[in-house]
């Protein structure tokens, strides 16, 4: 599917926001992702969808971190450039699975998909609150965008340079009945433990190295209590009850 890069800007020293236009009708749920073909690179790059406007001339907001040569090349792309994307990949978050007052926890580059999810939850009449976890104040992004949705936003930083000092679990102090999260695995394990203690269920969006992104290569398989799953197609979102660490 052809998309056109409309704008791109740096949010931090290594996190970028790009907006593309193209046919987004395949996107049906928050937490889905796209696979971007980059000129000169063999495999596509899987990037989670931050936000989207559905339609044949829809828009797609992607936020990504520069971690290697591929994402470096993405950061150099200029408006007007055409890109080939596979869109609407993955199961996405199940908004109907949530209770009334879900807590959304994004860690670092796991923050972006929480934004589209937050909007959908609000649309569904839920009352989400948000925790955004970073290492330092320099790394913080998308805080104002969340606040503009009218939800309660807590920022945590490991060094205490902004918001609550500590990991995201420092902000898991009750007042919610369900958790949605995306971020690094050590953060997941800590959140999972607190959820266990609090008797709260939820959904986790995982990351894995993948090739195809649509379920045929078996590159990103994982074992769950509900059987073997492909992170790209049966995931990236798994429910708490099925996760095997």
């Amino acid at each position: 599917m052809k998309f056109v890069l409309q704008s791109q800007r740096a949010l931090t020293s290594n996190v970028y926001h790009m907006q593309l236009t193209g046919d987004t009708t395949a996107v049906t749920k928050p937490g889905q992702f796209v696979q971007i073909q980059l000129p000169g690179f063999y495999l596509r790059r899987p990037i989670s969808i931050c936000d989207w406007q559905a339609g044949e001339n829809g828009t797609l907001d992607l936020i990504y971190k520069v971690v290697g040569h591929g994402t470096e090349a993405m950061a150099d792309m200029q408006p007007g450039q055409e890109l080939d994307l596979l869109v609407g990949l993955g199961n996405g978050f199940d908004v109907s699975g949530s209770e009334e007052a879900p807590l959304l926890i994004g860690g670092g580059v796991g923050v972006p998909p929480m934004y589209g999810l937050c909007k959908e939850l609000i649309k569904a009449g839920k009352k989400p609150s948000v925790v955004l976890g970073f290492n330092t104040a320099d790394e913080v992004f998308w805080k104002e965008e969340f606040e503009a949705l009218g939800v309660n936003v807590t920022v945590t930083t490991v060094d205490g340079s902004m918001g609550v000092k500590g990991f995201v679990t420092a902000a898991m102090n009750g007042g919610y009945d369900y958790v949605y999260t995306c971020g690094p695995e050590p953060m997941f394990k800590a959140i999972y433990k607190v959820m266990d203690e609090q008797g709260v269920s939820g959904q986790f969006s995982f990351e894995e190295r993948m090739a195809c992104g649509f379920g045929v290569c078996m590159g990103c398989s994982c074992k769950t209590k509900y059987g073997n799953k492909r992170i790209c197609r049966d995931g990236p979102v798994l429910v708490k009850e099925e996760i095997i660490w």
């Binding site: 596509r44 894995e208 993948m210 090739a211 195809c212 649509f214 990103c220």
Partner: protein, 304 residues
């Protein structure tokens, strides 16, 4: 009007395009994107006797013009394939399929092939001899002519359908292995499987792939594949399914000129899920450009 028909051991395909095993699952995901009945056929995910989860992740590493995979033959096992995947496949694929079979002992190959041989939906059995032999010190069957021949002979004894042996390129003399398979009764050969490769992450200073090494595939290996198909085709009198880095209609024609009767598309399916219909649609035009009326006539054209 050009002809794209080719014939493998009496089985005529509308065109030589066959997605390669491990890049097409059992066809379902692709059937949701386009009508996979336009293919010549496809080779289903490498299947073993017992279900296998495969290797730990990461299983994938990117390379220049290619990729490494170390999936480790994840599959639901032959019984599940026969009871669930084949009946399901009937709903969206109406041609015969290539059954790709793997094993870790001769007994396992024999049992899998004996079972799959009874299935009407199977056109040919493609035996992957690149797996390690658990009773033979872990060396892959396909790395010695004797072992490859032993698998071939054992499988042929329990099957009625054409048996194609899928050869590993990770050998000193692929022609010797190919001839040993032919002498042991193979009806055809598929080549090449992936090449053993490895990447190291400069940040962690450790291998990218959890299994350390894996199979290298993609356009980077195309010249090696063409060379091996050419060498083997000249040395044997059985049909060859050529594969390895094929990505365009021109590549298909080049592979056939080297001596392939049919051509498999592997890694390219993973980066461009529409590559097969694209090639099938482009083939007639590309044939005309190179003054080719019939694909069947160009097989081995580089040396005939």
């Amino acid at each position: 009007m050009v002809s794209t028909k080719v014939t493998l051991s009496g089985w005529t395909l509308d065109n030589p395009l066959i997605p390669a095993s491990g890049t097409f699952g059992y066809g379902k995901e692709f059937s949701e994107l386009w009508d996979i009945n336009m293919l010549g056929s496809f080779s289903f995910k490498g299947t073993t006797l017992e279900p296998r989860f495969g290797n730990p992740t990461p299983r994938i590493a990117e390379c220049t013009a290619g990729m490494i995979n170390a999936v480790g033959l994840q599959n639901p096992g032959i019984h599940h394939v026969i009871e669930h995947e084949l009946p399901e496949m009937k709903k969206y694929f109406h041609k015969k399929v290539v059954a790709n079979i793997s094993g870790f002992s001769i007994d396992e190959y024999v049992e899998c092939c004996r079972l799959i041989d009874k299935e009407d939906q199977v056109g040919i059995i493609e035996v992957n001899v690149s797996c390690p032999n658990v009773h033979g010190g872990g060396m892959a069957f396909g790395t010695s002519p004797e072992n490859a021949a032993a698998v071939t002979k054992a499988v042929k004894a329990v099957t009625t359908k054409p048996v194609y042996i899928k050869l590993s390129p990770n050998v000193t003399d692929i022609v010797a292995v190919a001839k040993a398979c032919e002498d042991a009764g193979a009806d055809g050969l598929s080549l090449i499987n992936t090449m053993l490769g490895m990447r190291i992450d400069l940040k962690t200073k450790k291998p990218v792939i959890a299994n350390t090494m894996g199979g290298f595939s993609g356009p980077a290996i195309f010249p090696v594949a063409v060379r091996m198909v050419y060498q083997v085709a000249r040395a044997v009198n059985i049909p060859i399914i050529g594969m390895g880095g094929v990505a365009t209609a021109e590549d298909v024609i080049e592979m056939m000129l080297a001596g392939a009767t049919a051509v498999q598309i592997g890694a390219q399916n993973l980066v461009d899920p529409y590559v097969c219909p694209k090639i099938i649609n482009e083939l007639p035009e590309v044939m005309q450009k190179y003054r080719i009326n019939s694909l069947e006539e160009i097989i081995g054209g580089a040396w005939k």
